[in-house]
């Protein structure tokens, strides 16, 4: 256990910066996707729920970017990191940038992500050599626990619902399942961070994720599709065509009015 050692931030460590950037970008991009539901959700309660969870993810991203700015030590702020990079410099996984689709697609994406991030943050809080990161993780884990419950309940309701809802839920799962593998891969930077004890090995958390998904699918009467062409590339900055559109909106204010502040 790393807790016995000094738990310091890995200042000036490029691999650590890059590994944590992957997680920060996942939170920012999914948080932005959820914000797109604001005013469009199927009910007022769900509108509030999705905005609330989008805000959780943005809050987690902010804390991570601020911490990353300190690790990098070049004076970049959380806003610089969130708004002033090019598409190829974002290293989020492809799953989180996928378009919202219908409510079933959004719930499938939420389930896949939260079922991974809740145990991931729990492991970061327990084992990371970086005390500040462990603090961010302890908070985020509590939030991902209710994101998981919310998504899991909806996937079960829709999968085990009407003919129409079941067909849409199965279609959502069929569409997104191929993007889930990327969450468990270790980029070279991530492998270094794992070896250094900064981050837990996401791959080792895969069995727990699979059990969670299997439990939900069994109750929802859904079938996990066989993945023939697993999709990846986001960690290398290779994104789908929707990412550019997402960034155009996300970055609009800073591009149109550079340096604009509240």
């Amino acid at each position: 256990m790393a807790t016995a050692q000094a738990r310091a931030a890995p200042a000036g460590d490029d691999a650590a910066f890059r590994a944590l950037l992957e997680i920060a970008d996942d939170c920012l991009i999914l948080g932005h996707r959820l914000s797109e539901w604001c005013g469009h959700a199927p009910s007022l309660e769900e509108d509030l729920a999705l905005a609330n969870m989008g805000l959780d993810l943005l809050g987690q991203a902010r804390a991570l970017y601020a911490h990353l700015g300190e690790i990098e030590g070049k004076g970049r702020s959380e806003d610089d990191l969130a708004f002033l990079r090019r598409e190829r410099d974002y290293v989020n996984c492809l799953l989180v940038e996928r378009k919202n689709g219908d409510f079933a697609v959004t719930m499938a994406r939420q389930l896949y992500f939260a079922a991974f991030m809740q145990p991931f943050w729990r492991a970061v809080a327990a084992t990371s050599t970086d005390a500040a990161l462990a603090g961010i993780a302890a908070k985020a884990e509590k939030e991902m626990a209710y994101h998981l419950r919310h998504a899991g309940e909806w996937v079960i309701r829709l999968g085990d619902g009407t003919e129409e809802s079941a067909a849409r839920m199965q279609a959502a799962v069929d569409e997104l399942h191929r993007y889930t593998g990327e969450m468990f891969l270790a980029s070279p930077a991530r492998a270094r961070a794992i070896a250094d004890g900064l981050l837990p090995d996401a791959g080792s958390l895969r069995p727990e994720w699979e059990r969670t998904i299997a439990t939900v699918f069994a109750e929802a009467d859904l079938t996990a599709p066989e993945v023939r062409s697993a999709q990846k590339g986001g960690r290398d900055g290779i994104h789908g065509e929707d990412m550019g559109h997402l960034l155009a909106e996300l970055q609009f204010m800073q591009r149109a009015y550079p340096g604009q502040a509240w």
């Binding site: 309660e45 609330n52 809050g59 603090g135 509590k142 419950r149 919310h150 079960i156």
Partner: protein, 165 residues
């Protein structure tokens, strides 16, 4: 909470602790457990430590500014610092804070915080108005990040429940 050993420190604690929460003004930040401590740093300056409730809580900056303004008004020289470890939990809401919430019409958190809960699990939340346990959850996501939306099936009033986290 910190042991208060000098008058200025005691005053800083009293002033900071009296600041109401901007979204739930019936309780103070001390009642909610957001105020983590007031102490002197190595150089002798007074530091007021605050912690956010949720990662994305939009009230964090408003609370920090309100505390700074209250300290300034009271003529107490102190700086405000944000701490995130250990993570805030509703377990830190004081007994008095829970009673204030109930009197205000918000059901206080039930039980102790824990990790993952089962899908579709429901706690019994008593109506803060009539006390009936016959209530229904409308949505786990209410008017603020920290509250869920419930309806009482006895007196038919809607109410907020301060979620256990």
């Amino acid at each position: 909470m910190t042991n208060v050993t000098d008058a200025a420190l005691a005053r800083a604690l009293k002033v900071a602790g009296s600041v109401p929460d901007p979204e739930v003004p019936c309780v103070t930040i001390a009642d909610l457990g957001i105020l983590r401590g007031v102490e002197r740093d190595a150089a002798g300056a007074i530091v007021v430590r605050l912690t956010p409730t949720y990662s994305g809580c939009p009230a964090v900056i408003a609370i920090e500014m309100a505390v700074e303004a209250a300290l300034l008004d009271a003529g107490v020289e102190a700086r405000v610092e944000r701490v995130i470890t250990p993570a805030w939990t509703t377990d830190w809401i004081t007994r008095e804070g829970r009673e204030k919430l109930r009197a205000y019409g918000i059901a206080p958190p039930v039980g102790a915080s824990g990790g993952r809960r089962a899908f579709f699990s429901e706690d019994t939340i008593a109506c803060p108005r009539c006390g009936s346990a016959r209530t229904t959850k409308v949505s786990e996501f209410g008017s603020t990040a920290c509250k869920a939306h419930y309806r009482c099936d006895a007196c038919f009033e809607p109410f907020d429940y301060f979620k256990c986290i």
